[in-house]
């Protein structure tokens, strides 16, 4: 079990009468790669700025390894930031940019030179030390920004959407490079992104944020396969959501009426009662598209097909109008496998691959309101 490095307790932040963070609690473990994931305005950047010390919380504490940092100014916090637009000092060379933090520590000249050379070699920029930032490409500027932050050997590195300004291909390369750096340096990374694919592929743990609250904290697999609520389910990856109703219960399974069929499903982690409405969640890759002549599953027709290279993504409209997303890998036996629009199919899934979520407070209120009216 890793020990906690950074501990956030009851952290709140308001801008005017807008609540950005609402009594947030979070423990970041030593050496992990943790990602703050959420839509814009969810408070992830504010949270990062609070940790860095650029903003002050209205309430709550920030503790690093037992030391209270809440009132410590940014220059005295043993952590560094990689900014979204790099924030390289335009009038300084690459070398001076990277050396800046060490000069502030008043390190001897020899040591500065050696450490800067080392870290520039690590990001493969040793030949660019004399250049000014504007003479570098976006990816190179990005690497300078990382070098500048890690040369101080911080306990914690904060990264504020550092890859968002790069094009797709470069972003993939930098993702791999960042992971490698994190492994080599053993520094804890706190990474902010709104890109769920990036979050899943890079992180040890993902924090899903919305409205200044932690929606879910878990490994990428947990967040993707066992979302804690409807928001996480919808935000992380594509999702099919079917309304269901509990019919009866057994020891480790329950019987649910979904899409007009009775299915026996795994008992979920929350308490259920007979007759209770539930949501049945299925990822597009869990959907099985079957032959229309069979008797399994629900009948529908293909209304959209998207060739994605490695997968064939399709939208199937069921007879009651519900649209289902399906994503199928190409099969070696049938490389020409395809659908035509309007083709009748049947849709099903393997029992046990679904994920159940209870109805949420907002929905119940909505239903009662409409029932009253």
């Amino acid at each position: 079990m890793k020990k906690t490095l950074l501990s956030l307790r009851e952290l709140s932040k308001h801008f005017g009468d807008k609540t950005v963070l609402d009594a947030l609690n979070l423990d970041i473990l030593d050496g992990e790669f943790i990602t703050l994931l959420g839509p814009s305005g969810c408070g992830k950047t504010t949270l990062l700025r609070l940790i860095a010390g650029f903003e002050h919380p209205d309430a709550g504490t920030i503790t690093l390894d037992g030391t209270d940092l809440t009132q410590v100014p940014p220059e005295h916090r043993p952590l560094n930031t990689v900014f979204q637009h790099y924030a390289l000092f335009p009038h300084m060379s690459v070398f001076d940019n990277v050396a800046y933090g060490l000069k502030m520590e008043k390190r001897p000249k020899d040591e500065i030179r050696q450490r800067v050379d080392e870290v520039l070699a690590m990001v493969q920029l040793q030949d660019f030390a004399r250049r000014k930032p504007h003479q570098l490409s976006g990816g190179q500027q990005q690497r300078v920004a990382i070098a500048r932050a890690v040369v101080k050997r911080p306990r914690l590195l904060l990264l504020d959407e550092p890859l968002s300004a790069l094009d797709y291909k470069l972003r993939r390369t930098m993702q791999v490079e960042l992971k490698r750096l994190q492994r080599e340096l053993g520094i804890t990374f706190v990474f902010v992104t709104h890109d769920q694919e990036e979050a899943l592929s890079m992180s040890d743990r993902v924090v899903v944020l919305k409205g200044g609250l932690v929606q879910q904290l878990g490994t990428p697999r947990e967040v993707y396969e066992r979302p804690a609520n409807l928001f996480t389910a919808g935000f992380v990856g594509e999702t099919n959501l079917f309304p269901g109703r509990v019919l009866s219960q057994a020891d480790d399974s329950i019987s649910v009426d979904v899409l007009g069929f009775k299915r026996t499903l795994r008992r979920p982690g929350f308490k259920v009662q007979d007759g209770q409405p539930v949501h049945v969640l299925l990822r597009p890759e869990d959907i099985r598209v079957l032959d229309p002549d069979g008797d399994q599953g629900v009948a529908g027709k293909i209304v959209e097909r998207n060739y994605k290279g490695s997968t064939l993504d399709s939208v199937i409209q069921l007879e009651d109008g519900t649209e289902v997303l399906a994503s199928e890998f190409f099969d070696e036996d049938d490389p020409m496998f395809d659908y035509r629009l309007g083709e009748p199919v049947r849709v099903s899934w393997v029992d046990g691959w679904e994920w159940l979520l209870p109805e949420e407070a907002g929905e119940i209120a909505d239903r009662e309101l409409s029932a009253d009216a």
């Binding site: 860095a52 220059e75 005295h76 900014f83 000092f89 800046y100 502030m104």
Partner: protein
């Protein structure tokens, strides 16, 4: 495409702009006593200029005044611009608006009010009153130049410096000041030129103890201009050209 029209037009504009200056330079080397006929090449007016001690003193006075006024207004102006940019405080908009009022108001109004103020507080008219007056009308130009530079400034740069361990003071010195350096330089030059050729305000607030060049020349006009003024004009022209090239050189160097 007819290109002769814009060409002729441009040529005319440039002739109008530069002929007087060329005439001035040429006639500064004229041996004749009057400005109307050509008497051959000579440096006699330059000699006469340097023997005219009152004129030389006025020139040094003017240069010293322009130098100090530009420097003082750049210092105050830069700090004002930084304060207006970084902080929110009461009266910020009023302060901002008042700078424009100083810039927009007719010079004569500024001159009269400054004179009234100096007489009221009993300030001896001379170098100090001139300096205060010149700083007053140079200040808005510096503030606006620096503000313009700061408005395009990446706000994460100061944060990056703090994040890397710089105190607010060191951050200002190592990141903020270098970033606004071109604007400081431009503001300083603007102040220097404004101060050097100001007549209206200076007429009101200068005293007999400190005579400056524009006023000296103006007083000479009444008794008839001597060609040594041409020599003086040429020297000032060369001086401003050198200053301009110097500032361009510094700007280009700082970009590299």
């Amino acid at each position: 495409m007819k290109t002769w029209l814009p060409r002729t037009y441009l040529t005319l504009v440039y002739i109008l702009l530069y002929v007087p200056i060329v005439v001035l330079v040429v006639f500064s080397f004229n041996d004749a006593r009057t400005g109307y006929d050509w008497g051959g090449l000579s440096l006699r007016w330059y000699e006469a200029l340097f023997n005219n001690t009152a004129m030389v003193r006025a020139m040094w006075n003017s240069l010293w005044l322009a130098l100090s006024a530009a420097t003082v207004s750049t210092l105050i102006g830069a700090l004002t611009a930084l304060a207006l940019h970084r902080y929110r405080f009461r009266g910020k908009r009023v302060l901002n608006g008042m700078l424009f009022v100083v810039m927009m108001s007719p010079e004569i109004v500024l001159a009269i009010s400054l004179l009234a103020l100096f007489l009221l507080v009993g300030l001896q008219l001379g170098y100090v009153s001139l300096l205060l007056a010149h700083v007053t009308f140079c200040l808005p130009f510096v503030v606006i130049t620096v503000m313009a530079r700061l408005s395009g400034f990446d706000e994460s740069l100061p944060e990056a410096a703090r994040d890397l361990g710089a105190s607010d003071f060191i951050m200002t010195r190592t990141v903020l000041i270098p970033a606004i350096m071109p604007a400081l330089l431009a503001g300083w030059l603007l102040g220097f030129t404004l101060s050097l050729d100001d007549v209206v305000v200076s007429t009101f607030v200068s005293g007999p103890s400190y005579e400056i060049l524009p006023l000296r020349i103006y007083s000479m006009v009444r008794v008839g201009l001597k060609p040594e003024v041409n020599a003086l004009g040429t020297l000032l022209l060369v001086f401003s050209l050198v200053m301009l090239m110097l500032s361009q050189w510094i700007l280009i160097r700082s970009k590299r």
